[in-house]
């Protein structure tokens, strides 16, 4: 099983990295022929950076849209960041000081992450409009994240796993050597869910993470009168006649 997971993790990592790089290259390489920022929009690069930061860190637009979705969504994402940072302890030796410092917060974040996810799922199940627009994959994605959070919390609060061995396993993977992985059912569920999440990232709606940075309505400067903006394919039309 240790070997199986080693293969799974290598493949999933490869899919995640190559898939994301490919996507990002496609987004970056696709022209934006017209200026379409949603106005009022900043007129300077600094202003755009600020707008994007507010969007990515505070979910500004979602805040305007719906306080429930914003609250639950932000809680989930902020918690996820803390949880991910907490997990750095499995990949660093010696563990960096600040990673050690946030360990307890990371545990609470696991709980708030689960809470946020359940709230979002309840919304998807019980609000008529949101239920209407949900596809099976929308539900399964939440279920997958809930499985990750719940199994992680269970190893903390219900059935401990040998975290020293888990760390040894991942340290090994980082140096291309397969160490023994504890054979706990919950750990297997946890790791398997993570592998699936990594693998589907570049082909699913999780692309909203890189996508937001390439969204022309948010990342364009509002200066169309001051500077001529023209895509290569559009410029070509000018030489044709």
């Amino acid at each position: 099983m240790s070997a199986l997971f080693a293969i799974l993790f290598y493949v999933a990592t490869l899919l995640l990295v190559v898939g994301l790089l490919y996507r990002i290259r496609t987004y970056a390489g696709t022209p934006a022929p017209l200026k379409i920022p949603t106005t009022p929009a900043p007129t300077t690069t600094g202003g755009v950076v600020l707008r994007m930061t507010r969007e990515v860190v505070f979910f500004e637009s979602l805040f305007k849209a719906n306080l429930w979705t914003w609250g639950l969504g932000w809680l989930f994402h902020a918690s996820l960041v803390l949880v991910l940072l907490r997990h750095l302890r499995y990949f660093t030796e010696p563990v960096w000081g600040w990673v050690a410092f946030i360990q307890p917060f990371g545990i609470y974040a696991g709980i708030t992450m689960l809470f946020g996810l359940c709230g979002l799922w309840a919304r998807r199940l019980f609000v008529e409009r949101i239920r209407y627009i949900s596809t099976p994959s929308d539900h399964l994605m939440l279920l997958l994240l809930i499985a990750i959070a719940a199994s992680g919390l269970m190893m903390q609060f219900v059935a401990h796993t040998d975290v020293i061995a888990v760390k040894g396993y991942f340290q090994g993977l980082m140096h291309l050597s397969v160490q023994p992985l504890p054979a706990d059912a919950i750990l297997v569920l946890h790791l398997l869910s993570v592998v699936i999440l990594m693998a589907i990232f570049p082909v699913s709606k999780l692309l909203h993470a890189p996508g937001v940075f390439f969204s022309p309505t948010r990342n364009q400067k509002d200066d169309p009168r001051e500077k001529r903006h023209i895509a290569a394919w559009a410029k070509q039309l000018e030489s044709e006649n």
Partner: protein, 509 residues
């Protein structure tokens, strides 16, 4: 038409329950062979529409980053789901912005993504069938491209971009919309959306000079095709004869007169509107915009000013520099743009909105007003969607909200705002924008006006508002038509420059 009634106001504007299928089969007329062929589209639905549509979609995904990112990024969070005026008015779930996008996204997933190819049901992917194509024609013509949903989307997904792409694909396979395509044909043939030929236009302008002379005793000119004039005014053709539009045209002329500005209209390019944007076709958008460039070059004007028209101002402000070089800041080697930009006077913003022009003049003290002339009006201002969310004024974010309001306050004493979640960037479309201002969509237009009518009723009841000013030809035409159905007087709607016209003092300066 007799059976079209206004929907009831919501007691507290709550989110309506879904009525699936409420607007099925309520789409617009399909363009005829003649209309389509006149602008280079196949006359009717082509044999191999399926393959051509998918090929076009692939092409657009490679040409427009917006479409590519927007197809991938949506997480179905529902932030936009209650923001569309057509959803609020019709309760048809396919009029929720996310559901409208999904009509295309489901096809995108099926043909362009791995999970959609392998597990279509799981990710909501669908084959492009004739039923799906019909659904596109129906629901992508129930979107006014107003961008309200894009304000609220955490990824900035703009349904207008998706609607434009869908309409572009429909046109490619010969399944376009009658109203928009017919109008585009008229612009190319005659020079304006209304099909008003040059001689008729000149007659109208002479008539206006006489009317103003009679009313004020002053010779206010409405010049046309004057070479060497300083300002070229590009205004929606509705301004030449429709009510209340014409009163704003008189207002612009009076402002030019009072400030001693030499100006001209162009008979060749007598249209600010650009329906090329509505159908999402870059070539049409560009071709229509080039008429303005040509007029500017031929007449040798130094400035280009745009009249009260919402989508025209979006095209002028955001796209003209790209499409036709009207603007500044082109590369020195960019001969196409430099040719025009060298001619224009860059002490002024190119192009300028008529409101920017008038407000500059007010700030410089070049205009004076008798505000009491507007005392019969208690005024509110309806922000037009394309001005609010697709353009700006005054060179700073939000100028598009302040400047028209500043003008109103300078020329009138009574001004009241409508509810804040329905104005400025959160304004509601009038219900007739985006190429939907046609009688075959009247039912949709009436329903789409609901959120605006609700808050207008509010200020009418609480503050006695009896005039709603706006700076868009489509808003004016739409409200004139639907407001009586809601029990308002059609004369309640008018332009900002109509108010300017009422109050401006001529002959003082």
């Amino acid at each position: 038409m007799a059976d079209i009634t206004a929907p009831a106001y919501r007691i507290i504007p709550i989110i309506p329950a879904l009525k699936p299928g409420a607007m099925e089969g309520k789409g617009p007329f399909v363009a005829s062979d003649k209309i389509n062929e006149a602008i280079g589209f196949p006359g009717q639905l082509v044999e191999d529409w399926h393959d051509r549509a998918i090929a076009k979609m692939g092409e657009l995904l490679g040409k427009y980053r917006s479409l590519k990112v927007f197809m991938d990024a949506c997480v179905h969070c529902g932030a936009c789901s209650d923001k569309c005026h057509y959803f609020i008015g019709t309760q048809d779930p396919k009029n929720m912005p996310v559901a409208r996008q999904d009509l295309m996204r489901s096809v995108y997933r099926r043909y362009f993504t791995l999970p959609g190819k392998v597990f279509p049901k799981l990710v909501g992917a669908r084959d492009l069938t004739r039923e799906v194509l019909d659904e596109w024609h129906n629901y992508f013509h129930q979107c006014s491209e107003c961008r309200r949903c894009s304000v609220f989307c955490p990824y900035g997904i703009d349904t207008a971009e998706v609607t434009m792409a869908a309409r572009e694909i429909l046109d490619t396979v010969g399944y376009g919309q009658k109203y928009s395509n017919e109008i585009i044909g008229k612009v190319h043939k005659i020079g304006n959306n209304l099909g008003l030929p040059g001689p008729a236009l000149k007659d109208t302008l002479e008539g206006l000079e006489e009317d103003v002379k009679e009313a004020t005793g002053i010779d206010v000119r409405f010049p046309i095709d004057v070479k060497g004039a300083e300002v070229l005014l590009i205004t929606p053709s509705a301004d030449f004869f429709a009510e209340p539009h014409i009163d704003s045209l008189i207002g612009y002329a009076k402002v030019f007169h009072a400030t001693g500005t030499s100006w001209t209209l162009s008979s060749m390019s007598s249209e600010a509107g650009n329906f090329g944007m509505f159908i999402g076709n870059y070539e049409q958008l560009r071709k229509i915009a080039l008429r303005i460039r040509q007029a500017a070059l031929e007449l040798g004007v130094k400035r280009i000013v745009v009249g009260e028209c919402g989508h025209a101002w979006r095209v002028a402000y955001s796209f003209w520099n790209t499409l036709s070089g009207v603007g500044e800041g082109a590369d020195p080697n960019d001969q196409f743009a430099q040719m025009l930009q060298k001619q224009l006077d860059h002490r002024y913003r190119q192009p300028s909105h008529i409101c920017e022009f008038t407000w500059d003049m007010i700030e410089q003290g070049a205009l004076s007003f008798d505000r009491e002339a507007n005392d019969k009006h208690i005024i509110t201002f309806h922000d037009s969607c394309n001005v609010a969310r697709g353009s700006s004024m005054g060179g700073y974010p939000g100028g598009q909200f302040d400047i028209p309001r500043n003008i109103i306050k300078a020329v009138a004493n009574n001004f009241v705002e409508m509810a804040p979640n329905t104005t400025r960037e959160q304004t509601f479309c009038c219900g007739g924008g985006g190429g939907l201002l046609t009688d075959d969509l009247l039912d949709l237009r009436v329903k789409g006006a609901l959120p605006r009518m609700e808050v207008l009723q509010q200020v009418a009841d609480e503050h006695g508002v009896n005039f709603m000013a706006t700076i868009c030809a489509i808003c004016k035409a739409q409200f004139t038509k639907v407001m009586p159905i809601y029990g308002f007087d059609r004369k309640m709607v008018g332009g900002v420059h109509q108010l300017v016209s009422n109050a401006i003092k001529l002959g003082d300066k």
